[in-house]
């Protein structure tokens, strides 16, 4: 049983819930894993190059100036924020408006009030075994079953 209150599961033989420790990783595999992650961060930092170079620019480097001014980066960003981003934001707004009207609508409109309980007649439509066999099978503890070519339950009997 986990010691955390919000996680309650039963574990066998002191097995951990979260497998964090690597049992059969070699050192080289572990090294490759960490190296790969470092490479991921390098790509991410490349994405943030504009931001990082802006900071560097503050300290006198010209790279950000090249990105933003010489190559017209700020113009492209302003154009995006002015003409394209509003479509994305409008999409988000549509979702919120829809959700609010949905909440309001289903406060009054209650559907499927006549929901029925499961019935053995309805179940029999999906199997070729008889009602008696199905009723009996539901009381058995260990069963064996067979199915026809369409996957329909066609045979059921107590397992010996």
């Amino acid at each position: 049983m986990s010691s955390e209150k919000n996680i309650q599961v039963t574990l066998l033989n002191d097995r951990p819930l979260i497998f964090k420790k690597v049992r059969h990783h070699s050192r080289s595999e572990l090294f490759i894993s960490l190296l790969t992650n470092a490479l991921g961060w390098a790509i991410w930092l490349y994405f943030w190059k504009v931001l990082l170079t802006s900071i560097a620019w503050y300290f006198g480097l010209r790279l950000a100036y090249d990105e933003w001014v010489i190559y017209g980066g700020w113009k492209a960003l302003v154009l995006f924020l002015e003409f394209t981003a509003p479509y994305g934001l409008a999409l988000c707004l549509v979702l919120w408006v829809w959700a609010i009207q949905d909440i309001w609508r289903f406060q009054k409109d209650i559907r499927r009030r006549d929901v029925r309980y499961p019935s053995i007649q309805a179940d029999l439509l999906w199997t070729t075994i008889s009602r008696q066999d199905l009723e009996k099978a539901r009381t058995e503890k260990i069963l064996e079953c067979a199915h026809d070519a369409n996957g329909e339950l066609s045979y059921v009997a107590p397992h010996n």
Binding site: N6, I7, V9, W41, G88, R111, E144, A146, H147
Partner: protein, 418 residues
């Protein structure tokens, strides 16, 4: 030539804008869901007391699960719910699973075991168990997962609140976190799968329940004919069948289920390819909703998936043209001058980090150690879109060519480096 240039600029813009806008949509939709529903009603510290406890069946199908079967069953039997039975379905396993289940059935009162004489697949296993129980609600999990002891209460409460609810999906949490692949999937399950479910619930329809933990109203299943045998992802198929018949499918984040995921590239690829093929199968199977006015509410979900398929092909074409234009000057009119423009790279990177951060902030309530994986999920946005692109491109033709008469069977991939 001018038209070609505009067309390629449009495709290039679509490749960049689609993931960006979807990310914004998932974030804003999830925040709405969090503040409107989840914050107050899904607090794992306040387990719900129900006025009645209808009979439920906890169903777990097993196929060659001798390593996990006992733990899964013993954990299910500890469910904090007064009126339940556990049904284990042994789908003709070739290992020792059958003997383990039989021994447990003799030892435990509310455990029943069903043995299939032939391997029939997960969908048939679930349908068989559903037919052989008189329970009103069926909570289905995988044979290698650990359901939280309070999950049934959380899920039944959703059914008690509305007679329209046909299914409730839980919150799968990853146990295998010993490698980079394991850790980035922790980020994926929160920032992609978790946020999409919340955003889609804000809209009112789900693309799919999580097959690893979902509860169903049996009368709803009777109405739609239970699970379909031919599909590779029975969870997507049943979600669509229920929602097309106007049953609501809800998400209950407090109903956690601890699962094992692949930690090898081959295992991950085969699992995701199956998911993508199943998604494509559903899209092909349910394409007729476009001519059925009563199914109009599923259209945005269909459209979102269709866009992701188009994006996959567009992105692959863009990458191919980018690399080919170095060697073939004739491709220069296509406006592919770089795969990640400077300022948009910054925008995508920032959006991704915010998305993962918000997802982990929301999910930290159910999985307190989740923040430890934040630094490792750096790969995820890139890996997700590449994996998603490649699996979709491969899966879509497979789904179209696959015969409907072929039974959906598969062998689980590796279960992590435990």
């Amino acid at each position: 030539m001018v038209a070609l240039k505009y067309f390629s600029a449009f495709i290039y813009g679509f490749c960049f804008l689609y993931p960006l806008f979807m990310s914004w949509l998932w974030i804003t939709g999830s925040l709405f869901y969090w503040f409107r529903y989840e914050k107050k009603y899904s607090n794992p510290e306040q387990v719900p007391d129900l006025s009645i406890y209808p009979r439920i069946a906890l169903i777990a199908p097993f196929y060659n699960e001798e390593d996990n079967a006992e733990e899964t069953i013993l954990n299910l039997l500890e469910q904090n719910y007064p009126n339940f039975e556990v049904i284990a379905v042994n789908d003709c396993s070739r290992d020792n699973t059958a003997n383990i289940l039989n021994r447990l059935a003799h030892e435990r009162v509310n455990l029943r075991v069903i043995h299939h004489l032939q391997n029939e697949g997960k969908a048939v296993s679930l349908t068989t168990a559903a037919l052989l129980t008189d329970a009103e609600f069926l909570l289905c999990i995988d044979g290698d997962s650990l359901l939280d002891h309070n999950a049934a209460r959380w899920m039944v409460r959703q059914f008690m609140r509305s007679s329209r609810v046909g299914a409730v999906t839980g919150n799968p949490r990853i146990r295998t976190r010993s490698s980079l692949l394991g850790k980035i999937q922790v980020g994926e399950f929160s920032s992609i799968i978790g946020l999409i479910k919340r955003a889609q619930r804000t809209y009112g329809r789900l693309f799919t329940v999580s097959g690893v933990v979902a509860m169903f109203r049996k009368s709803a299943l009777e109405e739609v004919g239970f699970w379909s045998n031919e599909t590779l992802t029975e969870d997507i198929d049943i979600s669509w069948k229920l929602q097309i018949r106007h049953w609501e499918v809800r998400f209950e984040p407090a109903a956690t289920c601890w699962i094992l995921m692949p930690e090898t590239i081959l295992g991950l690829w085969s699992q995701r390819l199956r998911w993508a093929t199943g998604g494509a199968q559903a899209i092909v199977k349910f394409a007729n909703i476009w001519v059925n006015w009563k199914s109009r509410r599923m259209l945005p979900i269909f459209f979102e998936y269709a866009l992701s398929v188009i994006w996959s092909y567009a992105m692959l074409a863009t990458i191919a043209i980018y690399f080919l234009h170095f060697f073939i000057p004739a491709l220069d009119p296509f406006s592919v001058h770089g795969l990640i423009p400077e300022w948009s790279g910054l925008l995508i990177a920032t959006t991704s980090m915010v998305q993962i951060g918000i997802a982990m902030w929301i999910d930290a309530r159910y999985d307190k150690q989740i923040w430890r994986n934040y630094a490792f999920t750096i790969w995820y946005p890139i890996a997700f879109w590449i994996l998603s692109m490649l699996t979709t491109v491969v899966a879509f033709p497979k789904a179209i060519l696959r015969s409907n008469k072929v039974r959906g069977r598969w062998v689980s991939p590796d279960r992590g480096l435990q």
